[in-house]
Amino acid sequence: MSELELVPKYPREKQTMINVNGDEAIAYAVKQSYVDVVAAYPITPQTIIVEKFSEFVANGETHTEFVAVESEHSAMSACVGAAASGARAFTATSSQGLALMVEVLYIASGLRLPMVLAVVNRALSAPINIHNDHSDAYLMRDAGWIMLFAENVQEAYDTTIQAFKISEHPDVQLPASVHIDGFFLSHTLENIYTLPDEAVYDFLGGPRKIAKVRVDYFDEEVNYALDPARPLSIGNLALYDYYFEIKVPQVLSMRKAEEVIKEVNEEWYKLTGRKYGNGLVDPFMVEDADIVIIAMGSSAGTVRSVVKKYREKGVKVGLLRIRSFRPFPHKDIVELLSGSKLVAVMDKGIGPGQYGALYLDVAASLYHSKSKPILVDYVYGLGGRDLSPEMVEQMINNLLKDLEKGYILEEERLRFLGVRG
């Protein structure tokens, strides 16, 4: 139990406990992260982040320039402008706002601009709905962003600060999004432990450091930024002769991000005493489990409590929480699920004409596992439908029957949990 032996630099007594909801926790983390520009637009259930942050600005508690833009598209565009200028930038949104941002999300990652976006996950229209599911997050899964899902308010705070560090790492230089479940986390109060401002400042290494690039016309490495001392052109037209070559390093940086997320998770642990699995995945009683449930976000808490209950009854069930949806932890999944017989993926979003996005990614991993567990997709929680412990129990009971049977027919592989039939 080496974990108990470690004395973090800031043990709990040196941290400050505050009672906040998920949105406030993120706003507070942003305030501590020495962010230069916040450009944001209100949308439920993200609005509290911008409200809270505006208060910090109005009270002179931060140097941040708060740009109250006229749309999410402009929010992300302003962040691109700010990040390209060498500033640390942040924005937050949900659902339709994220959909409006999508065009610029691809540009932010393509231009290799570090920044952080908090996505308070909410269902996409139509029908219009303000409550949580992951359909908005699924929308941005190929946008080239690092996507980290928090399970609770404490993790929302921790991950927001970590996200800046990961995003700005010299080997990464990619934008990162922090995802919390709308209302379940955004509007739910929790006591969380927070670091002193200077600890966050030191953790992030002060203000944003600018990456260096080399261009033919200067005889030295120059700032990858809009710098009047060494002018660069950012956002060029690249056609079939170079587009591909520009995209490949972007993809490879995402792989490097896997290592960096793990490192930052460890570093955070040494600083605060908190860590989330290996940073990419957070397994619970997976090792000897016959049945493994895979979930993201706040639902993991509900599943974990039911898993505990079943374990007490001797049922070999486990939970694998995916924390990093992008980069997707294929390697960890293969390793962790090597002994499992049945894997149920919980998808809080749909892919009409397809399985859920999380299922597809897990299936892609498991194709390379020797054990080849039976795989099933549970779509649940759409439009904010609550996931009760009873529903999880019902799911596990069904999975036990499937396991006994030893197979799942193709037409039964996509299941809806908690919908009136």
Partner: protein, 352 residues
């Protein structure tokens, strides 16, 4: 020597003709406005390098070139997607001699807002290496009148210290001459073709500069590169004011307007001479003021040319010169007269 790879052209007097604009950190010098052209040619280099792939005869690079003679120091340029953007930055080349960014089509103003906010934040924390860094946007009519209008209006309302220069070639030229909110009535474009029933675009040009005046930002002006001194002065004013400024520069496109490449500047002169495109500036303190040639015409109305002078050199209006379309030209003339008279009423320096 920091900059490599520029062609080495020796000149007897002044700087070599092509230069990257470098402002070393802490440098404090305001570039003066120069109106003596030989002196200008010796002392100042445009922000746009040659080798760009704009069409021969395009006026947009002239707008950029002239505007850059008015820049006062460290400047960041933002460009919306469009001809100017794609033709000046075809990878791996760039024609921009100063820091330049392109984000997307509709968000140049929002991108500039973010840059300006970043400059402020870095200044506040002592990390800005200069006293000032100016932000200038170049965007076409599509990116301004239409798809980019929301971002522009938002930037104006929020008061960002950005100069937004619209180079208006009156259609989506980059995609192949489609009508925009800036296309004038009865102009031929590929999406407002001259058919048997419909004679080109059915609607009038959106009064974009007046709309920006309605935002009551510190400075709004119209300009053309043909009236270069007027344009240079206005750009400097737009940069100097504290807050958003908007300059509507008419910019001919020989491909889209269907005119000879060589008359790109002349056609803009005709636009002003016919009062199709009057030159004016506006600020909350002064209200509307006529400038340059338009002020001359206001004082001496006999100099005002008939609209045909503008139409006759452009293929996009060729159908209007047919006898059966006389009525349409009359309509256009009436529209031009009405907007001109309206401007004369508003301009405090117009003779009463």
């Amino acid at each position: 020597m920091v900059v490599k790879t520029l062609p080495e052209i020796q000149v007897k007097k002044g700087e070599p003709p092509y230069k990257i604009w470098i402002f070393e950190p802490g440098e404090k010098k305001e570039l003066p406005l120069i109106f003596n052209l030989r002196q200008l040619a010796e002392q100042r280099r445009p922000a746009l390098l040659p080798g760009h792939r704009m069409c021969a005869g395009c006026a947009a690079p002239i707008v950029v070139k002239l505007a850059s003679f008015a820049f006062r120091g460290p400047t960041i340029v933002v460009t919306a997607t469009g001809c100017l953007e794609v033709s000046t930055t075809i990878y791996p080349y760039t024609s921009w001699a100063l820091p330049w960014i392109h984000n997307a089509f509709e968000n140049a103003a929002a991108t500039a807002s973010g840059i300006e906010a970043a400059i402020k934040a870095m200044k506040k924390t002592g990390r800005l290496k200069y006293e000032n860094v100016d932000v200038v946007v170049f965007a076409g009519d599509g990116g301004t009148y239409d798809i980019g209008f929301q971002a522009l209006s938002g930037m104006a309302e929020r008061g960002h210290d950005v100069l937004y220069i619209l180079y208006d070639n009156e259609a989506y030229m980059n995609t192949g001459i489609q009508r925009s909110g800036g296309t004038p009535k009865y102009a031929w474009t590929t999406t407002s073709p001259v058919g048997r029933v419909i004679p080109g675009k059915s609607e009038n040009k959106k009064p974009i500069a007046d709309i920006m005046v309605a935002h009551r930002i510190p400075y709004v002006a119209t300009a053309t590169p043909a009236h270069w001194m007027d344009l240079v002065k206005k750009v400097r004013k737009g940069i100097e004011v504290n807050g958003p400024a908007f300059i509507h520069a008419l910019s001919s496109c020989d491909r889209g307007w269907r005119h000879e490449e060589s008359i790109s500047v002349e056609v803009l002169r005709r636009a002003v001479d016919t009062c199709y495109f009057p030159l004016w500036e506006w600020s909350p303190e002064t209200g509307y003021l006529l400038t340059d040639r338009s002020l001359v015409i206001a004082r001496n109305p006999s100099l005002k040319q008939p609209i045909e002078k503008f139409l006759e050199v452009q293929g996009r209006f060729r159908h209007l010169l047919r006898p059966e379309n006389k009525e349409l030209v009359k309509q256009l003339q009436e529209y031009v007269d009405a907007t001109w008279n309206d401007l004369l009423k508003r301009a405090s320096n117009a003779p009463r």
